[in-house]
Symmetry: C2
DNA sequence: ACATTCCATATCTTTTATGTATGTTTTGAA
DNA sequence: TTCAAAACATACATAAAAGATATGGAATGT
């Protein structure tokens, strides 16, 4: 049995007339008769009763009309589904967000734009840290991730730089310098710093170390924060000072002051990482939307990984 | 697109290897490659990524595996459904029961047998009277009906005689003759008779009239019962006496006595009526089961309509 | 570097779907 | 009753498409 048989059968069933049905499906009556005969033989039962003024459906035929119609409909649905998938208009993207990347306005803006343009693609967000997300990208459990760059040498991963803003100092409100507008990093040489463990985001961590070296001191390290956002309450509680991406300053916690760093400030670049062999069309659309957005307002940094 | 494309596609998707898949579907590799290519062109997207050690599914391909599998499965289901229908193993029969026919043991016995043999055929019972059922058979709203024969001249209807039992007298318990074993009909010449209107079951009615004529009197007619079963309570209430099919005597109502008729008793034959052009295979099976049953214990009457 | 694996391409063959011509049956009208 | 028309079936021819065979080319591992 082939779909052709179903198409021809439906035409005859609807016209109740071989000759007209043949015309409708664009062939002659005798081949149509043959095709129907084949179908009836395969099913083992007549589908039509032929009489001299056209045909009627048998009981089996009547039932088969429904079956055939639904089948052909589902074939069409499957076709358009696949086509939409291949155009990136349907499907699913699992997106990871590292640390505080979601606070960077460009990130939710991109998500919003994408959803507006591709409402039928399901977005599955996932909160984690850069290191874990890189692993998830490699093993395929996440399709794209907003991470702190550089992400190191992952051969199959690409990374599109999105934003690159200077970091801010986070001081407790009762810190002697907390009312200043901007402070050089060296002014905090005697303070205790709250940092993330290097594992969580090696790129970010190493930038800070470089910044400390340039400022001419190695800081006292206090508690380690499990994630960027938890640095803020720890500073508020007086456990020490810290350096945070600008976006984190949106978390307006009482007892914390955010200060610009005078001189060369370490930067906290955010990139969109994904597997080079980006499988899904939806993902490719997402990435190209991100590229478009990045090239618009972006500038500054070189494409680093 | 044809079902062939889906079958071939699934083979390749499962083997992840064109050559092996070709072997599995019984063709050579080059034509298989061509068919897959056709499919990909119709869908507008590649389904496989080819590399030198076989192939992998694309995102679209992965999704299409599910669709194709379900489609082919439904095709098979549709096929077996139609085949079962055509063998009378599935389907639906709308069966009418006239008056008290359902009390005749042969009738429920037939239904029981049929259901045991064809459990997947849905039986839709319908209670009515002979006249209405004949009409329902003609206009196609009922497929078969147990009726009181004869049903008169309905050109497209056939009628299979099933049972033909003598009728009984139904007397109120306080009737002077109620303790007799058998009474001739003429003994009730002065009683009031409760009968059905002739419309409901002309065959039965006319038999009674003939019986009265043979007994040498025309009875006083009292109330008309709307259906056979309601004769019983009317007799119990003392509105008169009546003649009922033997099966009705199973309704053991206090205040009613059933007596045999001495001499020639009118009979209440029951038949299974159906359209001569019996459409559904299930119905044909039902009828042949009825025929088999009838010929077994049946005898007596000539095939009347 | 070479052999091997495996899919693609090119071309030929066979099958099968379709086209053309005609037959057969039914039905309605002359 | 006969005849013509309608409509599906049958017979045969043709064209299209599926499939077979032979070969090429890219990737991979020895």
């Amino acid at each position: 049995m082939e779909l052709r048989h179903l198409r021809y059968f439906l035409a005859v069933a609807e016209e109740r007339h071989f000759t007209r049905a043949a015309e409708r499906v664009g062939i002659q009556q005798p081949p149509l008769s043959l095709q129907i005969k084949q179908l009836e033989e395969e099913l083992g039962t007549p589908l039509f009763v032929r009489h001299s003024r056209g045909v009627d459906l048998t009981e089996a035929g009547t039932t088969f009309v429904e079956e055939a119609r639904q089948l052909l409909e589902r074939v069409e649905q499957a076709k358009t589904h696949i086509q939409r998938l291949s155009r990136g208009e349907a499907g699913r993207i699992r997106i990871g967000f590292a640390g505080a990347t979601y606070f960077e306005p460009a990130v939710p803006a991109l998500i919003r734009d994408y959803r507006a343009r591709y409402p039928d693609v399901q977005l599955q967000p996932q909160q984690s840290n850069t290191a874990e997300l890189v692993q998830a990208l490699i093993d395929g459990s996440v399709d794209a991730a907003f991470v702190h760059t550089p992400i190191g040498s992952a051969p199959e991963l690409a990374c599109l730089p999105l934003v690159d803003e200077a970091m801010l100092l986070a001081l407790p409100a009762n810190h002697p310098l907390s009312e200043e507008a901007a402070v050089p990093l060296s002014a905090l040489a005697d303070d205790t710093f709250i940092l993330l463990p290097r594992d969580i985001s090696p790129g970010l961590y190493d930038r800070l170390i470089v910044a400390f070296q340039q400022a001419g001191f190695m800081p006292k390290l206090g508690l380690e924060a499990p994630q960027i956002v938890s640095i803020v309450p720890m500073v508020a509680a007086g456990f020490g000072v810290s350096l945070v991406p600008r976006a984190v300053s949106q978390i307006d916690t009482p007892g914390v002051r955010y200060l610009s760093i005078a001189g060369v400030a370490p930067r906290a670049p955010i990139g969109l990482a994904y597997r080079e062999d980006a499988g899904s069309a939806a993902l490719r659309q997402f990435i190209s939307l991100a590229e478009a957005g990045a090239s618009t307002h972006d500038a500054a940094d070189s494409p680093e990984r």
